[in-house]
């Protein structure tokens, strides 16, 4: 069966510090991968998605970046965090099959920028 891991689960970082969140998927190959952010009490905002190694599409211009160094690894980074970067970060994967493939979400990372 497929599983998706995210770490860390929680993170408190000062403004201006760097960020690295990691997501890995097991039990599948060549998945689509996604990073979302959810502010408190709000919906999910798609930040990045990737259809393959090194292929990243950005949905929202911001101080965040994403990389996919391996087929089942997706990393979200920032060189300098802003207060507005606080939120719940979710990684998800899907197959490439079907018209609108189901997305499977990880447990999330709650980031607080102070």
């Amino acid at each position: 069966s497929q599983t998706i891991h995210q770490w860390p689960a929680t993170l408190v970082q000062p403004v201006g510090s760097p960020l690295s969140l990691e997501c890995t998927v097991e039990g599948t190959s060549n998945p689509n991968l996604y990073w979302y952010r959810q502010a408190a009490g709000r919906g999910l905002q798609l930040l990045f998605y990737s259809v393959g190694i090194g292929q990243i599409s950005s949905e929202v211009p911001q101080n965040l970046s994403a990389s996919r160094p391996q087929d089942r690894q997706f990393i979200l980074s920032s060189k300098k965090l802003l207060l507005s970067d606080s939120g719940f970060y979710l990684c998800a994967w899907s197959t490439k099959q079907g018209t609108l493939p189901e997305q499977y979400f990880g447990p999330g990372t709650r980031l607080t920028v102070t």
Binding site: S57, L100, Q103, F105, P107, G108
Partner: protein, 112 residues
């Protein structure tokens, strides 16, 4: 991508049927409609997907009228554990299929 509109919140009581409607006036011919459920501090979870008419699974039904400009998620006999946020998504092959936008969702609160 088709924009979706849902009620912000709904209240219900245990044992009742709950219907949540989503409007998607600009749905494209190839678009599908998907509903997700999210509990606090968890990622969303797939509930049901459909293209037209009616789809039913073990947890919900999805009703889509002929013009496909709206859809209704029906939850039979809700329980307290169905308190969650429900998201409607619309997308398809002409938008890359894998690229989706979650709206603000509908917050359902089930009371005892």
């Amino acid at each position: 991508l088709a924009k979706t509109t849902q009620p912000i919140s709904m209240d219900s009581y245990e044992g009742q049927e709950v219907n949540i409607t989503c409007s998607h006036n600009n749905i494209a011919t190839n678009d599908y409609i998907t509903w997700y459920q999210q509990f606090p501090s968890q990622g969303p979870r797939f509930i049901i997907q459909g293209y037209k008419t009616k789809v039913t699974n073990e947890v919900a039904s999805l009703f889509i009228p002929a013009d496909r400009k709206s859809s209704t998620l029906s939850l039979p006999r809700v329980s307290l554990s169905d308190t969650a946020v429900y998201y409607c998504l619309v997308g398809g092959v002409n938008t890359g299929g894998f690229k989706t936008i979650f709206g603000a969702g509908t917050r359902l609160f089930v009371k005892a």
